[in-house]
Amino acid sequence: SQKIEQNSEALNIQEGKTATLTCNYTNYSPAYLQWYRQDPGRGPVFLLLIRENEKEKRKERLKVTFDTTLKQSLFHITASQPADSATYLCALDRASGTYKYIFGTGTRLKVLA
């Protein structure tokens, strides 16, 4: 069955460093991958979308890579700030007719001042 894995352990980093979060998937080949940010008690907020034919996408301090050979996406936040502390979710499209994104479990990031 389709499986998406994100590191369930919280990631703690120092302010100013680059945070790197991983999203691995097995048993299917998505055409699109999205990253969302979720703060406690709130709904996810869309950050970036990357297509299978795009190796890298950037938006301000955010960078996403999509390696269809490794079946992995990396999400980077450069010059991290305490305000970046949140849970980050990756979501992959089903690519099976009806549009449907499947979410990973998310990784909690804490940026220490």
């Binding site: 996810p44 869309f46 979308l49 297509r51 009806t98 549009y99 449907k100 979410f103 990973g104 479990t105």
Partner: protein, 115 residues
């Protein structure tokens, strides 16, 4: 800025009771989703509407859950009877279309506690 509206924000109900959640998507968004998110996990799709039609409800426990979007605008998700295991955040989201390259906009969610 346009938002997806959900109500109530919090709901406490006793098991075996009925409970309903309401969602008003962003104006003009044809696609509406209901997700359930258990603490520490990612959102799980329950049902997807395209206008007033159900596109996917394969993960909806139909013996107790129902969803409708009668006029293709706002939507209601109902649970009857509620069980302890239904305690979770129920998220509504909408998107402009059902195309894969479209972002979803989420509401604040309804936190359900079944006691």
């Amino acid at each position: 800025e346009a938002e997806v509206a959900q109500s109530p924000r919090y709901k406490i109900t006793e098991k075996s009771q009925a409970v309903a959640f309401w969602c008003d998507p962003i104006s003009g968004h044809a696609t509406l989703y209901w997700y359930r998110q258990i603490l520490g996990q990612g959102p799980e799709l329950l049902v997807q509407f395209q206008d007033e039609s159900v596109v996917d409800d394969s993960q909806l426990p139909k013996d107790r859950f129902s969803a409708e979007r009668l006029k293709g605008v706002d939507s209601t998700l109902k649970i009857q009877p509620a069980e302890l295991g239904d305690s979770a955040m129920y998220l509504c989201a909408s998107s402009l279309s059902e195309s894969e390259n479209t972002e979803a906009f989420f509401g604040q969610g309804t936190r359900l506690t079944v006691v």
